[in-house]
Amino acid sequence: MNRRLTYLTLLGSLFFAVFPFYFSFVVASHDNSALAQVKLLPGPNFLENVRRVFATVPFDLALANSALVASVNTCSVVLFSTLAGFAFAKLRFRGRTPLLLSVIATMMVPTQLGIIPLFILITRFEWHDTLAAVIVPALVNAFGVFFMTQYLSEALPTELLEAGRMDGCANHRLFWHVVLPAARPAMAVLGMLTFLGTWNDYLWPLVVLASPENQTVQVGLSQLRAGYVQDYSLALTGTVLATLPLIVVFGALSKQLIGGIMQGAVKG
């Protein structure tokens, strides 16, 4: 495939990726009653719709709650997953294979199916309607552990670890000086994915966070759809507001975050 065709294919894909965003802004900038006809250009009503969103739900608190939950969980998932991935990929210890298989088996456990007993458990801990109920169960997950295990087993040269051991490095020093630098590209990806996943999580926060001041962005969003008449303008203004911070943050950090994948000193 030559250069021109490659760029054309990528540009076409980019169009499909971007168009729904553009379209949701178009809907968000019109009065709901104007949407009976297909609109392709933005209208004049965006700010009015934003005002309606903040009047309907406490969206500022929801944004702050989501930012807190997503930051804490991202840091802890990346740290714990890298630690466990290092152990599974490069350390020899009794029970390694069965334990790793149990991690993989864990990924098959449909999390949403355990939601009723989990709810009972959280109530016992008296965490109901607190952010701890959302944060603590998600501090680490099987996906992250398996992802880092796979990545480190491919990308971290065993000779590098052995050289470190010859110099008398204990495992925690190897982790700090050898594993972390090599794992940086995958950590950046895992961090981004975790942040997004947490920010966009919907079902569990909806179930466990009851009072309006404790809600996350997605729960707030769902309430914008709760009216008798389907108010697409209001709902999509909410989605624009909930997505905008992510786009700004990742736009600003993309050089460091995604660029980390580029430089990654991980040649085999």
Binding site: T6, L10, M107, V109, P110, I116, L118, L121, L246, M262
Partner: protein
């Protein structure tokens, strides 16, 4: 002293590193799952305080219910329609962005991730508009091309396609990014010498990239299958979120297994026992699919 410490370090530290995961999983993953199994053996309704033991009766009823088999069929259909194109597209996109002459790689990567920045709620709201029968953009386009309008939600196949498009749109870039991360570990010299030997982009994808990132591909296939079998929010919100969403359309044409579970657990008398039995059967289906994937990938390796 030093060697003693060293021994403790090599023996004990691996367990310390994996401990956070296993402790948290034990409390918040394993316990709920076990408890679900226990509940599934009871006639357990939220509306009553007494729960009577019924053995495997919930399971027997489940296997007799044609709606259950309908939901299983729909789930598998949506799984295949969404996962196969998504993974092929992701692999091709990752490979294209990874081409050595591509400029602005960071920008393309951000572009890949863009659809994943939206929540499932947002995606379904947007696409429900796009796939609308009367005012939807896609039908307007079809009409402009001289083709007829499609009632996307009413048909079995068309509703599966619409739901699959939502899943594909949201997850293709995400998977491409995971493939890309793995491709960074493939030595660039391999591509350079292949290009010198006259290998085309497609040949390089097939004979260098895919074999080199096989573990990651298997990982993505398994994870996508597991998530695909649990699809819930897309069909539920596509059906409008109300009763029509829970049954997956008026004829249950897009009711998935999780929707079926939700219908019995939270809609029909809060029948937690029956819903828990459904949960365990779903778990079994997921395990079967994962084992199938694993065996298949082993076999493919054997052929090579």
């Amino acid at each position: 002293m030093r060697t003693w410490l060293y021994k403790v370090d090599t023996r004990v530290s691996p367990y310390l590193y994996i401990a956070p995961f296993f402790v948290l999983f034990g409390v918040f993953g394993l316990f709920p799952l076990g408890y679900t199994a226990y509940v599934s053996l009871f006639d357990w309704s939220l509306l009553r305080d007494e729960h009577s033991y019924v053995g495997f009766q919930n399971y027997a009823e489940l296997f007799k219910d044609p709606y259950f088999w309908n939901a299983l069929g729909n789930t598998v259909s949506i799984l295949i329609l969404s996962t196969v194109p998504q993974l092929v597209l992701a692999l091709v996109l990752a490979h294209l962005v990874n081409r050595p002459f591509i400029r602005g790689a960071a920008a393309w990567r951000l572009g890949l991730l863009l659809p994943n920045l939206t929540s499932v709620v947002a995606v379904v709201v947007i696409f429900s508009q796009l796939f609308g029968r009367d005012f939807g953009l896609i039908n307007a386009g079809l009409e402009a091309l001289g083709l007829g309008r499609i009632a996307w939600q009413e048909g079995t196949a068309s509703s599966h396609v619409a739901i699959s498009v939502m899943i594909i749109w949201r997850w293709t870039g995400y998977n491409a990014l995971i493939f890309l991360a793995a491709m960074q570990a493939v030595p660039k010299e391999l591509y350079e010498s292949a290009t010198l030997d006259g290998a085309t982009s497609g040949q390089q994808l097939r004979s260098i990239t895919i074999p080199a990132i096989r573990p990651t591909i298997i990982f993505v296939v398994i994870v996508s299958t597991i998530y695909g079998l649990q699809i819930f929010a897309e069909p539920q919100l596509f059906g409008g979120g109300g009763p029509n969403g829970i049954t997956g359309g008026s004829d249950r044409q897009f009711q998935t297994l999780t929707l079926y579970l939700y219908e019995h657990g939270f809609n029909k008398g809060f029948d937690f026992g029956y819903a828990s039995a459904t949960a365990w059967v779903m778990f079994g289906v997921i395990v079967l699919f994962a084992i199938g994937n694993f065996v298949l990938s082993k076999r493919i390796r054997g052929v090579k």
